[in-house]
């Protein structure tokens, strides 16, 4: 993985406008968002965000500290890359020309993907994995004719028994 990419975990209030506040902070301080995903947690009042930023080590600390000042941010922490499980989901629509020699099916299998939709002239493949794996798959299937694709952005959890909310208690 790119040395300058860092993952930040966030717990935020599940209110409208929160995404604007987070992305607004990145915009106003000229932090570079590489990737962002957001979804509700098991607590309906709290959303979890995973932000991948491209910057040097020293700036990650600054970004986390600035995020922690936002009223709607409940927890913010930089991920330890050695100790983090990251996944992203990709849907890619491919022109359904004759699958010469089963090459496409083979690729989907090797990448542990699934065909989730098929029409007479297109099919949609779903792949889950780390960013690099998805990139590799996209590169490979270009030759079959990619119509369009959509990626969810990286989502991630840290290994071990503690939760982000507990780990971040010390800063409030």
């Amino acid at each position: 993985m790119n040395q300058n990419k860092h993952t930040i975990f966030l717990l935020v209030a599940n209110k409208h406008g929160v995404l604007t506040r987070i992305s607004g902070l990145f915009a106003k301080r000229a932090y570079n968002i590489d990737n962002l995903s957001v979804g509700r947690t098991d607590d309906p009042e709290i959303s979890r965000m995973t932000v991948v930023v491209e910057c040097g080590e020293a700036l990650v600390e600054q970004i986390v500290q600035q995020l922690r000042k936002l009223v709607d941010v409940i927890a913010a922490e930089a991920a330890d890359p050695q100790n983090t499980v990251e996944r992203e989901l990709l849907l890619v629509k491919i022109k359904n020309c004759a699958d010469t020699g089963g090459q496409l099916t083979e690729a989907v299998n090797i990448f542990r993907g699934r065909v989730v939709d098929m029409t007479p002239d297109s099919l949609i493949v779903e792949i889950t994995g780390e960013e690099d794996k998805l990139n590799a798959f996209i590169n490979y299937v270009q030759k079959f004719g990619v119509v369009e694709l959509s990626r969810t952005g990286v989502t991630a959890l840290e290994r071990g028994k503690t939760a982000l909310a507990e780990r971040s208690e010390s800063w409030t």
Partner: protein, 554 residues
Amino acid sequence: MRLTGAQILVKELIALGVDEIFGYPGGSVLDIYDELYKNRDKIKHYITAHEQGAAHAADGYARRSGRTGVVLATSGPGATNLVTGIATAYLDSVPLVAITGNVSTKLIGKDSFQEVNIVGITMPVTKHNYIVERVSDLRKILREAFFIANDGRPGPVLIDIPKDIQRDSAEYDEAESFTFTSRRHASDFKIEKVCAMLKAAKRPYIYAGGGAVISGASSELRAFSERIDAPVATSLMGVTAVPASFSGALGMAGMHGRYAASKALAECDLLIAVGVRFSDRATGNKDMFVKNCKVLQFDIDRAEVNKNIKADEYVVGGIKEILSGILRVLPKLDNKDWLDYVSVLKGSPENLLATSDNALTPKFVIENTCESIGRGASVATDVGQHQMWTAQYYRFEEPRTFITSGGLGTMGYGMGAAIGACIGSKKKRSILFTSDGSFHMNLNELATAVTNELPLTVVLLDNNALGMVRQWQTMFYDKHYSETALNRKTDYVKLAEAFGAKGFGAKNKEEFLAALRAVRDLDTPALIHCTIDSDENVFPMIPPNGTINDIIIR
């Protein structure tokens, strides 16, 4: 008891201790103004000439008094006119609550008359902001807004209240109470480590900023300076952190700071940063700034640590608490040789502020104003050369008496701020140092000062130019005076009189002293128009991104 949103708002403002607010009425705040009318014995509302003036007034009020400034404006242009004032308060950490009306919720998003998304617009320049969606939320939001504005590092908060929310009613239970969790970063105070660092230093240097003023740490700062034998220099925002008469005071450091302050900074072995945020105007070249010393940083905002300058050690917390904590355990440290050296720097010819032999000089104007009418006064400025001259020449003795836009550098800030500071000091004298450029931006607020019979003295340094920009053109742009020669024909004395203030003109020292004598006995608004030379520049100057080696003394 059921109350309308407008009733809840005004009732809660009173409960929060707000008795003076600034604002400007309009269509979307009629219900709030109706409640203010009914409660005019409890809250005094000051109407300004323009919402921007109201925002600056609330800001000046807060800076002077330490209380939360409150400003009220209508939707659309009323709200957008607040934005510069809110941004000014944000950059200088001023506790401000801005309340705007908006169109009714069902009209929002339809490009209705005087509709604007002020929450979206002010998001980057507030600590937090709200649009109230249910009248039942209003009370908690208002309480929380005041809490946030003052929690940790202060700053502005905006509450946008649609018109139907002001009219809807909700159950109001007087006994209900609210608690909010502070978002202040709790750092463990490694006091042994801090003390060891202080003891190891042979040439300690204290650099104090707005945080020291806001936290009310003036006496602790002096005691700390004496305890460790360290001189105290300040940033622009920290000018009143120690009295000018304090023996350890070096004055301001930075681009237009004193020679001794900059020189000692370059030669210290420990820089103790006390509530400063290391602005580019203060540090010059950031790579060279602390090249030869260690940095010990105290700040209430954890995000300020390592933001612009890397700290070797830091403590997060209120400046007053941190300094008292250290003073409780730290023995007297002896760095007499260093102090002796610093006092030699202080007495050196380079440390004298240059002045010209023109008929009337900024130095003469500011020093004599201070001496003649300065006692107990609040001093506001606009932005530019006169602002730097005021920071250099005026001898501030009391914290919170210097009201200036440091971070945002808002020309036009001064009139509103001086009015707010005057009201925030129970109508003691307020002095505004301004210039022909800045004054023209918001001179309309003279009307506000006159209506309210405020003891406000405007000292206008007229160099017939946008002086600071002109100075840069002189020094860095081959004297191409692009759009900085103003050549305006404004008659400032007549202008003051047209507004109902007293006007005085001064072209030389005698005339200026005569005007000061006349103003001294006035407790109503007056303006002294001082004609100075266009070529009066601000020195010393360390050019942008420079170091002490690049300093231009005169």
